[in-house]
Structures are given as structure tokens and as C-alpha cells.
Amino acid sequence: MENSADDYRIQSLDMDTQMLLKTALKDPSSVNLEKVSDILVDQSLKDQVFSKEAGRICYTIVQAEAKQNNGNVFRRNLLTRLQQEFKSREETRARSLQEWVCLVTFICNIFDYLKVNNMPMVALVHPVYDCLMRLSQPDALMNEEEVDCLVLQLHRIGEQLEKVNGPRMDELFYLLRDGFLLQEDLTSMARLLLLEILEFRAGGWVLSSTAHKYYYSELAD
């Protein structure tokens, strides 16, 4: 889990870009950080595995920059770009489900990794909720890809989110219960995922061991 650059899954990028990122991780002030943030966002939107990892890279760069010159240019550029993507999320979703799922994964990942004063960034709380709410709408529950993304995010950051804003989590779970219970066209896989996340939250963001057995026993073999 250490910060070796290879750990960051940047091998899929071309050599120049890899170099740029590696430099940014070590000596952020020597590179164009706006370009770096753009690369990270672009790659995250293309590659779902990357979007799950990008938060760590961003975290490291933010730390390095703060240490180096007390700067926050990278974070500002990253958030600005992210905000643009967030604003056009409906179009993105209409254009490519995959990209949309990557976007949600990425925003949630950033929310998870970048903290201010050891607290989640307040500015991201509502946007993250907005994304998750969108994933909980009936039309999105029809796509396993989106349901999958939704429950994954809730597993990772659900507890933190609820702490900063409980009422919205309630709201979100109304939707999920309704979807689970009332929506007839759901696949059994989607239902399973929803049921699991309902149990997960009900158990205080932990799955009891019996529940765990129920949901994961088949996967083990």
C-alpha cells in the first residue's frame, strides 16, 4: 500500500504522461498542475479501475503541494474540473453510461480521500448525494452497472456521508427501499445488491456475519 508510483495503476498511460504524474507526485511545483488534474480526470472518466484509484494519487499530490509551498493550485484545478463534469452529468449519462459511472466513482473517491481538517470537504457533500440520488432513480436501477456503482460507493463512503448529512441519507434510502419493493422490472441481481445495502446500513454500516455468509458464500467457491 505504499506510494510507489507503480502502485497507482498509471502504467496504462503513455510514457510521457507517466513521467509527468511521477514528477507531480514528488515535486508538484515543477509541473503544470492544471494539466495534471486534467489528465487524472480524463483518465478516470475512461477507466473505471483508475477512477477507483485516482483519489489516492490526488491525495498525494495535494499533500506534496501543501508541504512544498503551502499551495493548493492542484486541488483548485481538480475541483474546478470536477465541478464542470458534475454540471454536465446528465448529458454524460445520456451519452455513455460507462463514463457516467466512472464520474460518480471518481467524485466519491475524491470525497473519500481528500479531507480538510480531517473532515470531508463540505463542498462535495451535496454533489455526491446528488450523484447517488440520481443512481437511485427508477431508470438507473434498471441498469446493473449503475446499481453496482451505487452500492459500491455506499459501502465505501456511506457512513461518512451519513455523518455529515443524515437526512439526505434517509431520503436516499427511501428511494432504495421503494425501488427494491415496488419496482417490478428489476433484475434479481439488482434486487440482491439493493437488499444487501439496505441490510448493510441497517446494521450500522456493517454486515452481520450471517448476512455476509448469505451474500457472499457463493462467491467464495
Binding site: A66, R76, T80, N118, V122, H126
Partner: protein, 276 residues
Amino acid sequence: MSNWTRGRRREARDNEHDNGSSGPSRWSHCRKRGVDGSLRANREGDAGPEKGGESDSRKASFTTPESTGPVSRCGRKADWGSQVENDEMRRDVHRDMQRYRRRILGAEVPQRERKISSGSSESCDSREGENIETDEAVLLRRQKQINYGKNTLAYDRYIKEIPKHLRQPGVHPKTPNKFRKYSRRSWDQQIKLWKVKLHAWDPPTEEGQDKVLDDIEELGIDDVMDIELDFPNLTDFQNAPASLATHSRSLEGDDDCSGTPVKIQKTEITEEPDLA
């Protein structure tokens, strides 16, 4: 929802002020960073983010008389980067205030402080304590004004050329103490005079701009914290915890009650060698 709204209200107030007291054009020519925080070298790319994207629904639902003024800066505050920076600044101001309180209370009334220190932080008020400005909105507004002043090439040059121990009251610019109770008018005047004085260190007009970019990294750590106290023997205490964010948790931890004078004095003693 309420978080957003509260945040924006504060921003609107701040903006109204910054725009009023000093026209951007007058001071901005020697800024090392733009409003968006990027170094000026990146300026060209900057025109982009200006985007009319601020037309998001929240803006329409929230209007104050002030924000109808010079718009561009207000509009930008809606962006996530600024919001996060504001949160951060709030954190810093709180941390500074705890430090300031401990310092002046520790310096002026050690006995009283010791008696009281087991109580809540509220009870820390003493003679001096009553003079402390605690209104967060006021402190943030002041901090922002100070930041604007410090975000100048002149300021960089000043702190480089005149080390702290050589600065003389009345001769050299001295950052106004944001924790003291002052009327709005008095504070604004202090800021104004401070900025005017700082202009003496403006870079020579032709070549100054790029050269100084290299100098930025040389900022001393004691410049991170910006209050300069009236107690010269204590100023060096600033060096101690200025080691930034990472410590904030533990610092806040003992702020509540256990910030006893004994502790503070100890810290000072260990810091003493730095005076040399």
C-alpha cells in the same frame, strides 16, 4: 441545504467588503497569485474557467444587495475550490484564535488563568479576554483582507528584506491584529494604512513580475502565522506550532481546557534558542 446557504451568505458579505475598500485594479497589478489561486504565470489559461457556469440554480435563489456589485469575483465563489479554501481558512482562523488566547492569557494573567483553566473555554475570559474578537464572520473577513495584502509581491519582498526582529513599530508595516476588538471603520483604516506602507516594497515596475516567482518558496515558516503581538518577548512562540495543519487535531484537543500557562511557558523556553 443550509450549509450551502450559510456558506454563500458569508462569502457575499466578504466580497462586498473586499470590493469596496480597495479596487481590484489598484492592488492587483503585483499579485503573485490570481483570485483562483494559481500563480500568475498560468494566467493565460485562466480566461477559460471564467465560464458562465455560475448560472446554477442556487445563485438565483440567493441574492443579496451586495452581490449585485462587481460580479465576477462573487460568482466564482460558488466553485468548489473556493468553498474548500474557505472551510480551510475558517479552520485556520479558529486555530490561530486558540493560540492567541492562550498566549495573551498566559502572558498577562497567569494566576487567574490557572484557576480558571479547568473550566470550559468560555470561562477563559479575563480582562484581556474581553477584548478578543470572537465573531467568526468578522475574523474571516479580516483574515481575507490580510490575505489579500500578503498575496503581493511587495509583501514577499518586505518580509525578505526586513527580518522580523529588525522591524520597528511605527516605521515598518505591521499586520493589524485581527483578534482585537476594533470598529469596522478603525479596522479598515488599519488595513488601508498597512497596505499603503507595504507599497513601499513594490517591485520595480519593469522586471519584477517573473523574477519573484522563484522567491516564493523562501517564505519563512513564521510568516505562515500572521499576528504580530504587542509582546515582543513572546513573538517567537509563533515558530512553535506553525508547523501547520497536521497538528491541528491535537492542538484543538487540548484547547478546550488544558491549555495551561505552565505548558505554554515550557514551550517558550524550548523555543528560546531560535531567537538567535
